[in-house]
Amino acid sequence: MKRVLTYLGLAGVIVFCLAPFYWMVVSAFRRPKDQFDSTPWPSPWSTENLRAVFDPDNMFVRALLNSLFVAGMTTLLTLTIAVFTAYTLARLDFRFKNAVLGLVVATSMFPGISQVVPLLKLFIDIDWINTYQAMIVPSLGFALPLAVWNLTVFFRQLPFELEQAAMTDGCSRGQAFRKIIIPLAAPGVFTTAILVFFMAWNEFIIAFSMVNEKSMQTATVAIAKFTGMRGFDQPFGTQMAAAVVVTVPLVVVVLIFQRRIVSGLTAGGVK
């Protein structure tokens, strides 16, 4: 009896999590004229919506590349800076260490809007509107605290005795860091990179505010702004198909790296 209840509960969890996502996929593969059908699967299947997504008018390929570049650069820059900070916080002993960590974490509670408005004004003045840097630089504000925090937790768990041993054997601190710590820390760095990339890929308010030229839009903004072919109808079929294109790679990455991601999330506690 208890087993049955547990399995029912599990089925409930799966339905709760996947049903809306399933609906997105199903809607994407309907024919546009079947759009408002509510059959549980498309009949017949159609890739018409998918082809509409890649209509040259939408510049969707460009938007995907923009997203990839912005999220990739944000991740790269964030990790490069955060690795050194996290190593310092996890490894070295100095005064105000916890205060520094607290300060970095506190910046993550900062609402995006109070960053966006002054930066928007600044970027208009220095002609940064419609540039990649206008999206990448502000993104560091939320990505860096997350990365520092996650990496610090990961680095704490590393066997630093090995580093001591290497230094006793004549390695300098820098060498010990490069040859012992970096290879051991790679999994944690990788997990953090996935989380940062996700956040940067999903970012909306910055990309939405700093760019008004179609060719510079990121994918999430571009999809939200898709317009219908005729009249004021919101082209939901096309939008669902585009959402599938943006989301499915993320879901695949999540499924492949689920253990890492879960450990990263629970270590960091930051979305």
Binding site: V13, L18, F84, P118, G170, A224, A243
Partner: protein, 326 residues
């Protein structure tokens, strides 16, 4: 970034203790400075610039000679005092109420559903991998995309009305739009709380429950007296982060319902709208108030719930071990 690397094979000099601490401190400062620099530029500067900006207003009207006045003029706290009167005031308090209401209801629901998800997952002997994979899906869907997805579901002739056999105009305005936002928000984020609660559950040794059973504790008592207190630290941090995130909510209501809708306009959306109309002074005043409100609530929550946010990174041994969730 370069770390000074001395030549190889230099025999370590026996350094005095004070000197050692000093060099460590300098090394630490060197390694920390890029993060400080970046955060000061992309977070510190906007805060200060925003506070300054909130004391100015866009100049309006004509001067004595009949020319249009351009630029900005200093108005002191006028952008703030204006919140207590007139149309601007009612828009602000409406957004303030919406922000608070969304945060309170969504976070409470997320926490309850998240804990239930975690309890179910914890019971499962088989199929845990599958459940954990599916629970990560809502988390992986970008917020703007989930806004669109739910907008589609909540269309007048969409699937929500088909299932409920109703004709509710979910995305128009009014209470149903609030409900739509809350449903979408809870769907997307309760898995996150579920994962953190599960990590907490897996830390609890089984023999505690055995002992409770021997003493005749009912399942509810076990949950109240053992499970809840023991997962509270993990849960408190998760709830805090969800709270901070919901308070600054922007993209979900913006995509799901749209801008300029009274029923779902949050403070972030209102500030964004003002900035979009080039009223930077008002926009930054709203953003500053939101920032202070968030800081106040975070402080209160940490004091009341005792959420030790940096505890895990501060402690030598992490309390939630890496392997716990695996």
């Amino acid at each position: 970034m370069a770390i000074p690397i001395p030549p190889v094979n230099t025999p370590a000099k026996p350094a005095r203790k004070g000197q050692d601490a000093k060099s460590t401190r300098r090394f630490a400062l060197l390694l920390l400075s890029p993060t400080f620099l970046v955060l000061a530029l992309v977070v510190g500067y906007p805060v200060l610039a925003g506070i300054r900006q909130s004391l100015y207003a866009q100049a309006e009207g004509l001067d004595a000679d009949g020319f249009v006045i351009e630029g900005e003029r200093f108005v002191g706290l006028e952008n703030y005092t204006a919140l207590f009167t007139g149309e601007r005031g009612s828009a602000f308090w409406n957004a303030f109420f919406n922000t608070t209401f969304f945060t309170a209801t969504a976070v409470v629901l997320e926490t309850i559903i998240g804990v239930i998800l975690a309890l179910i997952m914890h019971q499962a002997l088989r199929g845990r991998g599958l459940v954990r994979a599916s629970i990560l899906v809502p988390w992986a869907v970008p917020t703007a995309m989930s806004g669109l997805l739910w907008r589609w579901i909540f269309q007048p002739d969409g699937v929500a009305n088909a299932i409920l056999n109703q004709e509710i105009l979910w995305t128009a305005d009014g209470w149903q739009s609030k409900l739509a936002v809350i449903i979408a928000e809870v769907w997307k984020t309760s898995p996150f709380i579920g994962l953190l609660a599960l990590a907490g559950l897996q830390m609890i040794p089984q023999d505690v429950y055995e002992a409770a059973k021997v003493d005749g504790a009912s399942p509810w008592q076990q949950f109240r007296r053992i499970t809840l207190p023991l997962i509270k630290p993990a849960l408190a941090v998760a709830v805090l982060f969800r709270m901070l995130d919901t308070l600054r909510m922007f993209d979900l209501p913006f995509v799901l319902i749209g801008g300029n809708k009274d029923s779902v306009e949050t403070l972030s959306m209102l500030a964004w709208d003002e900035a979009n109309n080039l009223r930077y002074g008002v926009a930054t005043a709203y953003a500053t108030i939101l920032f202070l409100y968030i800081a106040l609530l975070a402080y209160a929550f940490i004091k009341i719930a005792g959420a030790d946010v940096i505890g895990e990174a501060r402690a030598r041994k992490a309390s939630v071990k890496k392997g716990a969730a695996a």
